[in-house]
């Protein structure tokens, strides 16, 4: 029985991990469960930022200069939009628009987000199975001192400036996990379940808020290993640190472990944080994923830890 791998992920950081994982495991044996809490309708177009980041990263189209969006991008649309007085706070690249326009048209026809994602991945020869956490709409909202902000208004337009008080996932209680999500977590051939070093509060919690996913993870036969987004007592990405502070959580791997309490079997922490280890089995490595070697190393460390946690040969 071939080993399968599952990754719960948000956008950029998670995509790096999945790309690394695809170097040490066959891409067709990897299933990623992607946060769609960031999804929103902008100018009438359904935009799915984390899904798109994954798609671009796994099809080698990610824009390395910007750190978001796609390569070889041009900006004629947004320039013309600006000249017409359209909202330009969320940058949409010309090539990027193809995903949004096709997805919006397909959803309007009644296709599911799962089906659209499958078609995109196929067109771009992405062998990793990409699943949205849900085909139902779940919207991350940040309650700030300035009021409740939809995720992209908070994250992109306001650049996380308003102090956050709490985070909610509108629609989550009524949402159903997308086809294949629970099955991938439960499958007997699943060897390891990784939680990517994405923002736990904004990128992973929406996935865990979809009924059935948390329970399935807690009951999973495969070890669940989180990669800590903390390096040297700070989150790799500024907003995560700021948000943790505002939510009254210390920026430590222990706090991350506590956040995922009941779900984790192990954790990958950065070697700089080895002095304050989390209260569960862990392994340490350099977790900063700058290049493909880094990503591969982190993924390999996670798989090795999973092997150690569940070394039985039939996994």
């Amino acid at each position: 029985m071939s080993k399968k791998y599952v990754v719960l992920t948000g956008g950029v950081g998670g995509a790096k991990l999945v790309l690394g994982l695809a170097q040490v495991a066959p891409p067709e044996d990897i299933t990623v469960i992607v946060n769609t809490g960031d999804d929103f309708t902008h100018l009438g177009l359904y935009v799915s930022p984390d899904m798109d980041t994954l798609l671009y990263t796994l099809s080698a189209k990610a824009n390395r200069t910007l750190g978001w969006g796609r390569e070889d991008e041009t900006w004629g649309f947004i320039e013309a939009l600006r000249s017409l007085g359209g909202e330009d706070w969320f940058l949409l690249g010309d090539r990027d628009l193809a995903l949004h326009i096709l997805r919006t048209a397909a959803l309007a026809r009644g296709d599911t987000l799962s089906a659209v994602t499958r078609a995109f991945a196929k067109a771009w020869n992405v062998d990793v199975t990409m699943l949205p956490m849900s085909d139902d709409r779940v919207s991350t909202e940040v309650d700030t001192v300035e009021g409740v902000l939809p995720f992209q208004r908070y994250f992109v337009e306001r650049r996380c400036a308003p102090v956050a008080r709490s985070i909610a996932f509108e629609g989550a209680t009524a949402a159903r996990a997308a086809p294949g999500v629970i099955e991938a977590i439960q499958a007997p051939e699943t060897h390891t379940i990784l939680i990517a070093p994405s923002n736990p509060y904004l990128s992973v919690d929406p996935i865990l808020a979809v009924p059935g996913i948390r329970t399935a993870l807690a009951a999973a036969r495969a070890p669940v290993v989180a990669i800590s987004p903390i390096i040297a007592g700070k989150a790799v990405k500024g907003p995560t640190s700021k948000l943790m502070q505002e939510l009254g959580v210390e920026a430590t791997s222990t706090a991350i472990a506590m956040h995922y309490a009941g779900l984790l079997d192990g954790m990958i922490i950065d070697e700089q944080d080895i002095g304050s280890p989390p209260p569960l089995p862990y392994a340490a490595t350099d977790t900063l994923m700058t290049d493909l070697d880094d990503r591969t190393r982190v993924a390999a460390a996670a798989l090795a830890l999973a092997d150690r946690l569940a070394p039985s040969t039939n996994r």
Copy 2:
């Protein structure tokens, strides 16, 4: 009382005439009534080709090389769309998309096509008043030997290849003229009403099919002058000639005059067709509108003819 001018128009040819007219009359005294029978929803976006051609032409953004679309255009979107297997028979430029996306979003919010058009014209400092023939949906359909084709499928995808048998304007009987259309035709200060040298069957007939417009034109106090699209016994644009042949109509100014029977007070014909004059008052000039001087000359000839037809000083 300042003199006002009204032009019924389709896309490219009509836009050239309006641009010429704006050289000999104040743009703010010109109202254009634009064919929207070509409008269609493509990839979920509401595209209004004749309206966009007018907008681009009057805001000095028209693409002179292509003869359609806008200047400085890039094609990243359509390339990416193609790579995803999307329909690429109708080319949408990156900058061009701004009009379609904003318009679609505005219509979805409940704005009228008139209101959207007004906002675009204002943003781009177009002083000519642009009115869609109707805010209701009217769709030109060509019945061909291969079956009924929606206009853009016939015109763009099939390049007018299928032999046409008849043309219908789906939705026209229930459509209402857009606010200002009938009023502009009837206004006492209207000095001249021009019918642009657009395709009579595909571009002007849809306008005339909207209830009330034909009657208002027939009853108009201002002289109605058509500019013939025929030069030397051929239509300037290939498809018009081909279509006239298929519909069993001779490509002559007389045939055009007959087509508009009951509406016209005069006609501008090309000087090459002076040997076969139409059966109504006319003036001849070189009607091929290559550059701005040509356009201005044709517009001036039409106004001079209108003056001759209705020389009263209070017009």
